[in-house]
Symmetry: C2
């Protein structure tokens, strides 16, 4: 089932928060609004990481390590599945010296405290 | 909601079919029993690929290219979400000369013709 326009708008806000506030703004506390408390991420080059606090540590390290300047996420499609949303999307990472990296991802969203958040997050690089 | 024992058993059969029949046995026609007809995969190092026929071409090329000898998939957890199942798992790829690679994945399963199949499949390497 397709997601409604109002949910799509909510998802876009969260995706933009991740790019602008977390990555560009280096505000990792804002990840409270992005991930559920028991979310899990599956990053390339590392093992599965479970729990929002550990996920914050991961992103602090990863954003600093690659010196990512900004990230822009674009939803390719999203559909409702019970209490979840399955989103397929693309992201572009802006790196120093005009470099960039193309990423694609699958995110399972769940509601926490009335807000849609990322519950399962896996991505990889196109090249 | 957790998946029932009988669905878990069905998922294990499909996961084993992928490893034993497709990868080890080089039987790519068997992917009809693994992927839905409109499935999409998100492979590392390539763009999104949509549709079972294109997915067969991808796996033919990828298995030959890395000369993968075998693949073993282990479910970490799986839960029902509406008409879908969200599975997080690990896989080990057996490569020539005793080499191997650790992979993790997220698969969204859907029913097609009464059988559970992979509908959205994304993975990456742990190292």
């Amino acid at each position: 089932m397709p997601v409604s326009d109002s949910i799509q708008a909510e998802m876009q806000k969260v995706n933009a928060l991740f790019g602008e506030t977390v990555v560009k703004g280096r505000n990792f506390a804002a990840l409270d609004q992005v991930y559920t408390v028991d979310a899990r991420i599956l990053p390339p080059g590392a093992d599965l990481i479970e729990g929002r606090e550990k996920i914050k540590d991961f992103w602090k390290g990863a954003v600093a390590g690659m010196n990512v300047q900004d990230a822009r996420l674009v939803s390719v499609n999203a559909h409702l599945a019970g209490d979840s949303i399955i989103e397929v999307g693309r992201a572009k990472l802006f790196l120093p010296e005009g470099q960039s990296a193309e990423v694609k991802y699958v995110v399972e969203w769940k509601q926490e405290g009335g807000a849609w958040k990322w519950h399962t997050d896996i991505w990889n690089m196109n090249a």
